[in-house]
Symmetry: C2
Subunit: 112 residues, 2 copies
DNA sequence: GTTGACACTCTGCTTTCCAGAGTTGATACT
DNA sequence: AGTATCAACTCTGGAAAGCAGAGTGTCAAC
């Protein structure tokens, strides 16, 4: 039995954490915008996006945009938003805050 | 050029984040204690610990303990503590806080 | 000397990560 | 119509990471 809470492995990965954080902050974003913001390659970004879509965390929508070429817009689903929220909460519980010791770790710690 | 800050891949991994957080909260811990807290297998835990030791984030010390069997005690080095602190700061900047929108993401966002 | 725990190593397997090339589909241009 | 361009997705191959479990050496207790 683990005493420390598990971190969603789908979200706890550099590229995917960035994607989720970006979308949580912005609401939605195009593939190109994400590519630029994360400095990721096409293949790699698409692989991570697909993984999140497959998990039901993201949804994509094609936009035959008025002012240009067709684009794909990504956004968090309710499931994704919820998972991300849980993830952030778990992290907050796990990581020490700046000024005080971590309550969770005090509790989890075995008596010396 | 990435607009989002990079997350130290050494720390941004479920098991290693847990190790670092645990040690940051507790100061030090034995192998057995970590194993119990993380519910990890020997091999896996050792692999992650070794990786952190190799990176200079952790140091280990053998304790021919007075009250029992010899054990290995792990603790964060100054480098490790500093890296973890940077990691936490980066995460805080990246993740939305509960009540307000994320300033970093606003700045990073391209004009529509 | 046997046992048992601890920590470390090793092995094999599976999964993940990543870059770059290639493909498809839609739009813009002439 | 034909070509060019760009977006996004697919595919491929290779490298690295993650993981479990078996095995090894060491030490202490009995």
């Amino acid at each position: 039995m683990a005493l420390l809470p598990a971190l969603d492995p789908l979200l706890h990965q550099p590229v995917r954490t960035q994607i989720a954080a970006y979308l949580a902050g912005r609401g939605e974003a195009t593939f190109a915008e994400l590519k630029r913001a994360l400095a990721a390659t096409d293949g790699n970004l698409d692989a991570h996006l697909s993984k999140l879509v497959d998990a039901g965390y993201l949804e994509s929508r094609k936009e035959a945009s008025a002012a240009g070429r067709p684009q794909t817009v990504y956004s968090l689903t309710d499931i994704g938003r919820s998972a991300f929220s849980t993830y952030v909460t778990t992290l907050s519980a796990l990581l020490p805050s700046k000024t005080e010791t971590n309550e969770l770790l005090k509790v989890a710690a075995a008596p010396r």
